[in-house]
């Protein structure tokens, strides 16, 4: 096998693992919905806390050994003070369990210590909290998928003897590596694991399209692309895109959440009960803003770096080439988004819509402009 064939092999392996992660994340959302329906409180980190009076009934059933099904795991404790936990060492002493993790704002993410799969935590008031196995599996598979995809990407770069982001196929690969990478890195600071379904789903769609439609054999770079600016400009653009993707997801959920908050329940027909376990719309909006401004800074840099490169390669720094136009449009939309957040009457859902439109323009720029529009940037390799 050639290096490129190895690269393809690893890429397919990554796709499979991402698909498993996607399923795990989806199961977590399903579990959240069902737990919310059952009247339990579910934390942002997926921890289900069963209130003591509910436990009286649930607990007896669970105590009989039905706790194995952890994807919909319910509390494993009998009523009252004695906890029937299969691994007693995970029982948290009453003094420290005062802060029930379900009420954690999520800032600390997954800091729950070493509770076991089937075990639960019993709080002072007798409530039992149980972490989400599927969520942790989803994260584990995402990390494995990323490792496989990075391998594929690096192999492609070695095979081509240059950075692996010079045509659509390679952008898709490096771009999705960055999307997953940024997702994982941001997760070390804020618990956004509930976005796992979206992120792995998006990455699966992008990789699916690109491996089927955009694959090209390794080719040398045309002279116009032989520039250090290719390395910088395209990489930073992909990095910006990764942050915008997270912001898009957060803004989308924010819109659903604020509908739920206003009308009591969001879009009932969609049965999005898991929303009750996610941060409130204001917190989602703040998170989206923080992610989007990072994306915006990268995008501003992309715009400037692109202009410098254009000056080197084509003799003018700005010429309203289609790709330049769309990069500009995206920049202006996000500038509008930032403004909207500072404008009375526009904070909240309206500004969220702008973030969503902005990301739609990013996808359009990548998927449609690169492939179907003519211009100097016709380097998609297709």
């Amino acid at each position: 096998m050639t290096l490129d064939e190895y690269s393809i092999f690893f890429l397919y392996a990554a796709i499979v693992v991402y698909a498993v992660a996607f399923i795990a994340f989806a199961l977590d959302l399903a579990r959240r919905s069902s737990q919310v329906s059952a009247g339990n409180s579910v934390g942002i980190d997926g921890t289900v806390t069963t209130a003591p009076h509910v436990l009286e009934t649930v607990g007896t059933a669970a105590g009989a050994g039905a706790v194995g099904a952890s994807a919909v795991g319910s509390g494993a404790a009998s009523a009252g003070t004695t906890a029937v936990v299969e691994r007693p060492e995970s029982v948290v002493s009453t003094s420290t369990a005062g802060r029930a993790s379900a009420t954690d704002t999520g800032e600390t993410g997954g800091s729950g210590g070493t509770s076991t799969l089937k075990g639960g935590r019993v709080a002072a008031d007798g409530s039992v909290s149980k972490r989400s196995l599927s969520l942790r599996l989803g994260m584990a598979f995402t990390v494995i998928g990323l490792a496989l995809e990075v391998t594929a990407d690096v192999l492609r770069g070695i095979a081509a003897q240059r950075v692996p982001w010079a045509n659509m196929y390679e952008f898709s690969m490096t771009g999705t590596v960055l999307i997953v990478g940024v997702f994982l890195v941001v997760n070390t600071r804020v618990d956004l694991r509930f976005l796992g379904t979206f992120i792995t789903g998006l990455v699966l769609v992008l990789l699916g399209i690109s491996t089927v439609n955009y694959y090209v054999v390794i080719a040398p770079l045309p002279p116009a692309l032989q520039s250090a600016w290719l390395v910088i400009h395209v990489f930073v653009a992909s990095l910006g895109t990764a942050f915008f993707a997270l912001g898009f997801a957060l803004s989308g959920i924010q819109l659903l959440q604020s509908r739920r908050e206003v009308s009591g329940s969001a879009l009932k027909f969609l049965k999005l009960r898991f929303l009750a376990s996610l941060p409130d719309s204001t917190r989602l909006e703040n998170l989206a803003y923080r992610v989007n401004i990072v994306g915006f800074v990268f995008w501003t840099f992309t715009l400037i770096a692109g202009a410098i490169w254009a000056e080197r390669a084509w003799g003018r720094y700005w010429g309203w080439d289609t790709k330049e136009v769309w990069t500009f449009i995206i920049w202006v939309i996000y500038a509008g988004y930032i403004h909207a957040r500072a404008t009375r009457g526009w904070r909240g859902s309206r500004s969220a819509w702008l973030a969503i439109i902005g990301f739609a323009a990013v996808l359009f720029n990548f998927g449609i402009v690169n492939v179907f529009f003519h211009g100097l940037h016709s380097y998609s390799g297709l």
Binding site: P220, G315, I329
Partner: protein
């Protein structure tokens, strides 16, 4: 902060009070009042937002239809393909979107709004920079990150607050201390601190830099020019004068004597192509134009011009933007006298550089001759008998020519393109349906022209380079403004502006109550933890104070 009144942080507008009849009466506005009102509308956040979104929307059509500035041939093609729609679109300047009246109106309004918004803010900020932080609020408990600690330390309120002041100062806060004592002599002291003024500075720098970019591009761009010139290997020398350009686009304020008459001669053009990879066979890997340049009063110099690496000379940048083949062709009359000899640049038609060119011979022969030539760098014959090129390098070059005689149309004084032949008033002599074979030549071959008009020879294959020569005196300024915009953006988005208060009050039992609280001014996700950290560090400082003799 003197932000527009509809800024999120500005106080909410007061509804006008209803009059006695319960009807809201707007105050009557005079002319100046109306102007004021209009200006306030124009410089509001809402208007800025609206104009920004409108600008994004208005930029879209320019990506859907070809633009004259970027793609003039595309526009011509569009007119041919959509003969009824194109003129209508043209009325709306759809082919010149980015210089159109409506696009310009939007961004000019936006920038007027921007200036109107930035100036009062800049003034306000300038004052704020010299003002002291505000008084400590009476009750800190309602503020962000509030903490109350009781300390059994040996210092009084004033000293405790002083150590907090030092600590805050060191962390970049601007500080002011207040203190008072109650009637029992128990002192209460507080420090009011504020930091992150750079946030607003960054914001102002960002917006001002945008204005800078607009002005330098709009005004400064007028002093520049761009021009194109084709140079053939060992062919004519290009001298940087107006007449020497094949095409030239001056800016509004361009004057001819700003051209520095340096010269460029193309010694050799080298193109390297991929010979291995099957998917990329024949793909270009490198282009290099070796040139000899000479500036006024200086010795000649050898340089290379490459894609992505322009040559800087005489205040201009010279870019390698295109290349192709220029077969050297000689035509002689029946007596063997040379009537034409030149390297004729042919325009590439495909990736393997099948090229088309035109030879015009107005004088010296019995009739005016025009020839449409096809050049195949590596010629092959398809199953239908048609020629094509299989590789862009000149491994097996073949030139074919179709000859026409008649009126070349050069005498009317109307400029014609050297790359096209108007055959309306000419008759075809070879190729096509004439039944006469096209002229077909390899380098070194020569062949008789039809009708005993003379002979034609294909002497050699030469390369040409198409150079773009630019002069833009504002480029550096634009870069500077762009970099300031980016720096301003980083500062204004990521430096938090916050107020922090530390209050110490002496209690009757000799202990000290310490209160800490903060206030975000704009986005500040880390405020609470910052206050907590200050409290932590302050407690530590206080507990490090050596135990003094409390009974003294």
């Amino acid at each position: 902060m003197s932000r527009p009144s509809d800024h999120f942080d500005s106080p909410a507008p007061q509804a006008p009070a209803p009059n006695d009849d319960g009807i809201i009466v707007q105050p009557k506005l005079g002319f100046v009042g109306w102007l004021r009102w209009f200006w306030r509308q124009l410089t509001s956040m809402r208007t800025a937002l609206f104009l920004l979104l409108l600008l994004a929307l208005a930029a879209v059509p320019g990506s859907l239809v070809p633009q004259r500035a970027a793609d003039p041939n595309g526009v011509t093609q569009y007119f041919t393909d959509n003969p009824s729609l194109a003129p209508i679109l043209d009325k709306f300047q759809a082919f010149d979107v980015y210089t159109s009246v409506w696009f310009s109106a939007i961004y000019l309004l936006l920038f007027i709004s921007l200036v109107g918004c930035v100036i009062p803010r800049a003034k306000h900020h300038f004052d704020a920079l010299r003002a002291k932080p505000p008084r400590t609020p009476a009750r800190l408990s309602r503020l962000a990150g509030f903490q109350k600690r009781t300390a059994e330390v040996n210092v009084g309120a004033v000293e405790a607050v002083d150590s907090a002041r030092k600590l805050l100062r060191k962390s970049g806060y601007r500080v002011v201390v207040f203190s008072s004592a109650d009637k029992n002599g128990h002192e209460t002291a507080s420090v009011s601190a504020e930091r992150g003024y750079a946030r607003e500075t960054g914001n102002l720098v960002f917006h001002a830099a945008l204005v800078g970019i607009l002005i330098t591009v709009g005004v400064g761009g007028g002093f520049g020019f761009s021009g194109q010139r084709v140079v053939v290997e060992n062919g004519g020398v290009f001298v940087n004068t107006l007449a020497a350009y094949d095409s030239f686009n001056p800016g509004r304020f361009f004057t001819e004597n700003s051209l520095d008459p340096y010269s460029i001669k193309l010694d050799q053009f080298t193109a390297t192509y991929e010979t291995k990879a099957d998917g990329a066979f024949g793909q270009p890997i490198d282009y290099n134009a070796e040139v000899t340049t000479q500036e006024r009063g200086q010795a000649p110099q050898q340089s290379d011009i490459k894609v992505n690496s322009p040559l800087e000379i005489g205040g201009t940048d010279v870019y390698l933007l295109g290349n192709g083949y220029a077969p050297q062709i000689t035509v002689k009359d029946p007596n063997g006298k040379v009537v034409f000899t030149d390297s004729v640049p042919f325009l590439p038609q495909d990736a393997n550089l099948t090229s088309v060119g035109v030879v015009k011979i107005p004088d010296g022969l019995a009739a005016q001759l025009g020839m449409i030539g096809f050049f195949y760098p590596t010629q092959a014959t398809s199953t239908t008998g048609a020629f094509y090129s299989t590789y862009p390098d000149d491994d097996y070059p073949v030139l074919t020519l179709n000859v026409y005689d008649g009126d070349l149309g050069l005498n009317g004084g109307v400029p014609t393109s050297v790359y096209s032949l108007d055959t309306d008033k000419m008759t075809q002599l070879t190729g096509g349906t004439t039944g006469v074979q096209s002229i077909e030549l390899k380098p070194g071959d020569s062949q008789a022209l039809p009708g005993g008009l003379g002979t034609i020879s294909f002497d050699s294959v030469k390369r040409y380079a198409s150079l773009d020569i630019h002069h833009d005196p504002t480029q550096g300024w634009v870069l500077l403004f762009a970099a300031s915009a980016l720096a301003g953006l980083l500062i204004s988005l990521f430096i938090p502006r916050r107020r922090v208060w530390v209050k110490a009050s002496e209690n009757a039992d000799g202990t000290l109550s310490l209160e800490y609280a903060g206030l975000a001014r704009g986005e500040d996700p880390r405020l609470a933890s910052a206050v907590a950290e200050i409290a932590e560090r302050h407690s530590k400082v206080l507990s490090d104070v050596p135990a003094a003799d409390t009974n003294a």
